[in-house]
Symmetry: C2
Subunit: 356 residues, 2 copies
């Protein structure tokens, strides 16, 4: 494990006065973590520095060929002053899965975790503590070769930045309305859908704007081949409760393997619920909504944690789920996951990691 | 049309001494063009400045959500000292098609062309003149909002940089070997395949590395739905001559609409060749190679212009085309397109635009 140099800021910023007005991903802390890669030294020179703009050549490959990877995590401060990360090993493992798909050199897991802990420790006073708030953590890698040919870059920057944040959706735990898209496609098997990389997100914007214009907050994607099977919600994975069983799309190569998704599956099974990871066609969903067997629907993701879905729309079918309210499994998952994350519930599953 | 401010460098760089060693996209000129966007002012403040690194917040959306668009063009200096662009209107039109797909605000065509001309004029002494060389032009847009939620950015930078370049492939006009990929996928209908954006290129790297390791210089992609129909070569479109007819994949939404592709189609038809834009299955190709009716194959793109293909490989089928040499149509297209671009041939089709 490499030693991290720490340079503390001489000009600390003013911390947000009102934690109810943080928003999401808008405010950044006093410091950032940075590590460089080149073929000679590998990943090297890890350091914590005052938060600052980065300077890149206009020819830097990230601007042209999209070679970039990111992760999303959160840190919480418990009532007794501990600082907790939630399953960081899973994010680090996924980051390196993404890196492999994107031809980015893998980051040593221990350096990743060490950088994460050090940065959060340095900026621990920025962790908000109001209900629903957290310190959002954004690790990311960008390709920096100043070169316009298409090939993997030889040089990279790995950075971590921190943002004290409120709920991802302004509506908080209120049920969201989701638009099932059958025109645009987010990702396809064989592509980069299971990697956490910009290309999947820019591909989603057009449909997201369309859905917003129609009054829907998110887009639920169908598979790119048959345009028939439910995939994910871009910023979240999706779960249904149909006829008493919890059902979620099976990871097929074009769906992001969510850490919150995996945690929901584990918890539901732990509670004795039957969980199926399988293909779910949109027709099955519409039929289940019609005959009343679609009991609940929720999204899972690091940013939103659990987001109940009150409405789904596919073409002309508008499906109201559970009377548009928060279902009991959604509520229990939210309470349990955030309870473990914030240290209010005992972490019997060993999911949290203490920063210090 | 907005007026462009010009600030000339006080420290001009040394120009490359040996034009035979330029490589591609490695050397950049003394100046760059930049224009900014925000919702209040629209695209504004167009200027030519000394070439310099750009400073961005680590939270700039381009690093996270891949909202970036680029174009590729070339400028040539004729023997009588004129400076020519090749069909810039087509690239500008395509740039705005890409922008629309990517939720990037459109760039006024006249400001785009004006910026292009002004920058090339300022750096005209950088245009190389040896055969096979040109001034490669890279316009690009990046999203700059310092924000971690997923939505279109409100602010952008549009830049143009210039790179005096030799042949895109080090082998020059020598026939290349191409690997037909059936494991990874570049793009799918409904996705971003027809937009010129980083996400399509990063998706291609893994297969490109695999092909390189097998001794192939490029990857020919199959469609993402049926994994059966020929699409494009990432950096080029693809043409075949089968049984006397020129055949190229029809634009289907996941193929980049190449300017050189369109020019090849026009020229071939002008010469009395029959050109079909249609679906071509890889099975048809393998069969045509076997029975001898696959007479020629070439790629077309701004960077490589025309690149003859001597070998294709699909799974266990290795297809040698035209004895592995340069076919007559490939050669004639190369000579004609580069002849028009460099002013050596009369531009009867009105494809070139004078910079000054």
């Amino acid at each position: 494990m490499q030693e991290i140099k720490v340079e503390l800021t001489q000009n600390p910023k003013q911390k947000p006065a009102d934690e109810s007005k943080l928003g999401f991903g808008k405010i950044f802390t006093d410091h950032m973590y940075i590590m460089e890669y080149n073929p000679e030294k590998g990943w090297h020179n890890p350091r914590v520095e005052p938060y600052h703009a980065i300077s890149l050549e206009p020819s830097a490959m990230v601007f042209h060929y999209g070679q970039e990877m990111f992760e999303g995590m959160k840190a919480y401060k418990t009532e007794d002053g501990r600082i907790l990360l939630f399953r960081p090993d899973k994010n680090i493992e996924r980051a390196n899965n993404s890196n492999r798909r994107l031809c980015i050199p893998e980051i040593p897991a221990e350096d990743f975790l060490n950088g994460l802990k050090k940065l959060v420790e340095v900026d621990q006073d920025w962790i908000p503590t109001q209900p629903g708030t957290s310190l959002y953590i954004r690790p990311f890698v960008i390709a920096t070769d100043p070169f316009l040919g298409v090939r993997p870059s030889d040089t990279y920057l790995f950075m971590i930045i921190l943002s004290p944040s409120g709920a991802y959706y302004e509506s908080g735990l209120d049920p969201v309305k989701i638009w099932i898209e059958d025109d645009y496609v987010r990702a396809v098997r064989g592509g980069i859908g299971e990697a956490k990389t910009g290309g999947n997100y820019v591909a989603s914007l057009k449909a997201q704007v369309k859905a917003h214009d129609e009054g829907y907050s998110q887009v639920l994607w169908l598979d790119g081949v048959e345009r028939k099977y439910i995939e994910e919600v871009g910023a979240m994975n999706i779960f249904f409760k149909i006829n008493g069983k919890v059902v979620t799309p099976v990871l097929n190569g074009s769906i992001l393997p969510g850490v919150t998704r995996a945690s929901c599956i584990d918890l539901c099974r732990h509670w004795g619920l039957e969980v199926e990871e399988r293909r779910i066609s949109v027709d099955e969903l519409v039929a289940a909504a019609k005959d009343g067997s679609l009991e609940e629907c929720w999204g899972s993701g690091t940013a939103a944690v659990i987001s109940p879905v009150g409405h789904l729309r596919f073409e002309d079918s508008v499906m109201q789920i559970g009377g548009g309210g928060i279902g009991p499994v959604s509520q229990k998952l939210y309470d349990t996951v955030t309870g473990i994350q914030t240290g209010k519930l005992e972490d019997t599953l060993g999911w949290t990691v203490r920063v210090k």
